[in-house]
Symmetry: C2
Subunit: 393 residues, 2 copies
């Protein structure tokens, strides 16, 4: 897949708009709310033009700052960035694209200009049924064990695990998911083609293969302390809730958790020994509004209770006709009754096993299929509604 | 001190009433609400007479049950029990006595008939500023460490620690208090002259010396499973809040915590590893209404917030004239300015160091004095209000 190829579900944003937004990811720092206000006033194309011309912008900023932005705007080469991204297997998803996760709109003027995405699955579909698992980079053995268990348990229950790809809790959570063949998203503070940290390059490559790498920064761009903090708002906004596993009092994970709370998402904490400094921040959260959990089941009980998209309650909410062609092929490959292995589904849908697994998780997030151990089957709801007038047996 | 000697603050209940209630502690099981209703209707003397005569009682019970109670009533020898208790250094405190802790009245018909008390301090005064620390008998090293730290920390902040004297968390909590020379109360499910468990006889003797042993059962009586459960309601009702340190899902400590909650006391839990079965019950509480704490400071911040008796906010609430003669002597022995060791206070008040320490804690619970390390001094409030017209320097 290249940057110019249509994203899953087909992009709807016009090429000029996409190019302008790609340019803006090189100009505006993530979470710049003044930039977000400009974007609302002038549109992406209008804003990049005004920045290049040095035209007046409202709200006003210092001339030094506007000069800095102008220099960036003039240096930006968005077509080249889109090409570089495409060569690295990444695409650029914008508000208005069908793959855009609508919940990011809750960020208001701090909404990302766009997201660079690497991986096969649809970010929008995966984010619908996702939970963040975050925590300290310098976690203890206990914290790593808990994160891995939670990751695995959430994946087994059909939830997508979002984290930051960092050392410690983040990495343990991602690995826990990958270990059971589940779906995971790493939101980076760097370009998705230069995954950070370096020591996680294998892990992040694996996530790009089996899951999704996502970030606001254009190809080749590097993280800064500020970008790490802003990255956390994307994790918080993308998911239904944020679970904090070990965090000291001033940990960045607490920023994510508090952002989740201010966005109306669930804030969730895993307790640890009262004597452990690395659980101190989590305990502080738990003395506030956060909910204590000790298992993945308790997490899904909580975040699943929103109910609007929980397949057990309402069945598929996306009509079958709106599925992308690959997902529809995978769905069609499943028998009306009984379970089938992912490998068999892949053969039936004439695709690769990796692609089939990605589609199956998408379909699960939409309530069409459920996982039973290593096999997959249609939900009862699907059998009843999709095949009621067209029984295949 | 003997059973017939006046309790601190002087008992106010007439001898006949006291003897009848002592007899009833041998007849009615702790927490018997039908018995409590009878007691309200007929009074203690009326009830014991009716039980002995086999007269009709409302609410009615089966004749077999009434026969059983009659046999117990006829066998009861309350004068002898009061004598035995007195010989063991215990007294019998009844509702209506000035030492009676009024908060037990919240138990309604399950209010104890009376309490057998061993130790020097006033149960009423100590209970005013008390917190329960309870938990599993089979606790881990972690649980024991936490309980000991909490006990010591609460004592150092002038709080009285109440527990059940059991193995595990209870014992560690009591020991933590004793280790810093603090005030602790063990509420037993047996007679206070036959402390249970046997393996804690030294610990319980030490509590009788430096603190208080309290129970509903008359001298020589033994615990039963039912009595252990009922004992928990006394711990819950006596204190401002119950802190649970390690408890498995079906632990008796959870009974105490839930009782505390239904009585409007604070329910408090110390977290532990999410993987520890012995923290499972605590985590369950923390997922409900209980408040998470990790230190004694957090406990006192919470329970002290009631404020009605917190010395920092309101100053002494018991006029100096209402203090018992010994407490008044100890108060008078303190200098108007500066601190004094307990040993010096004892000399000044012409009493033993143990007695002086007990009185100092009473005075602290009432806001008259504060502890600074190993020394004691008058609170500013006391200096201002008690000595304002009678400066001693």
């Amino acid at each position: 897949m290249t940057g110019t190829e249509a994203a899953p579900g087909a992009g709807q944003v016009a090429s000029g708009e996409r190019v302008a937004r790609a340019a803006l990811t090189r100009v505006l720092e993530p979470g710049d709310e003044v930039g977000g206000a400009w974007l609302r006033s002038y549109g992406a194309r209008g804003l990049i033009e005004r920045l290049r011309e040095g035209a007046e912008l409202v709200p006003r900023v210092t001339s030094a700052r506007q000069e800095g932005l102008r220099a960036r705007a003039l240096a930006a080469r968005p077509e080249r960035d889109l090409e570089t991204a495409g060569a690295a297997g990444a695409r650029f998803v914008c508000p208005g694209d069908s793959e855009w996760p609508g919940q990011l709109d809750d960020l208001g003027c701090a909404r990302p200009v766009g997201l660079w995405v690497r991986g096969r699955a649809s970010l929008r579909l995966w984010a619908l049924r996702s939970v963040a698992v975050v925590g300290s980079r310098a976690c203890t053995e206990y914290g790593a064990q808990i994160a891995a268990r939670l990751g695995a348990g959430l994946a087994e229950r059909g939830w997508v695990v979002v984290s930051g790809g960092a050392y410690g809790v983040d990495g343990a959570g991602h690995r826990g998911v990958l270990g059971v063949g589940g779906a995971t998203v790493a939101v980076l503070a760097s370009g998705v083609d230069v995954p950070y940290p370096r020591g996680h390059h294998r892990l992040l490559d694996r996530i790009a293969q089996q899951g999704l790498l996502v970030g606001e920064l254009p190809p080749g761009d590097h993280p800064t302390a500020y970008r790490f903090i802003q990255r956390n708002r994307v994790i918080a906004a993308l998911t239904r809730g944020t679970v904090v596993v070990e965090a000291a009092y001033r940990s960045g994970a607490l920023v994510t958790a508090r952002r989740a709370q201010s966005l109306g998402r669930y804030t969730i904490g895993v307790p640890g020994p009262a004597t452990s400094a690395l659980s101190g921040g989590v305990h502080q959260l738990l003395r506030g509004e956060a909910v204590l959990v000790t298992s993945a089941a308790e997490v899904t009980e909580l975040v699943g209770a929103i109910g609007d998209l929980a397949p057990e309650r309402r069945g598929p909410v996306v009509p079958r006709d709106l599925l992308g062609p690959r997902a529809a092929r995978v769905l069609a490959a499943l028998p009306a009754r009984g379970a089938m292995s992912a490998a068999d589904v892949a053969r039936g849908a004439a695709t690769t096993p990796d692609d089939a697994v990605g589609r199956l998780y998408e379909l699960q997030s939409l309530g069409f299929v459920e996982r039973h151990g290593d096999s997959w089957k249609l939900t009862r709801q699907t059998t009843q509604t999709v095949f009621s007038s067209n029984e295949r047996e």
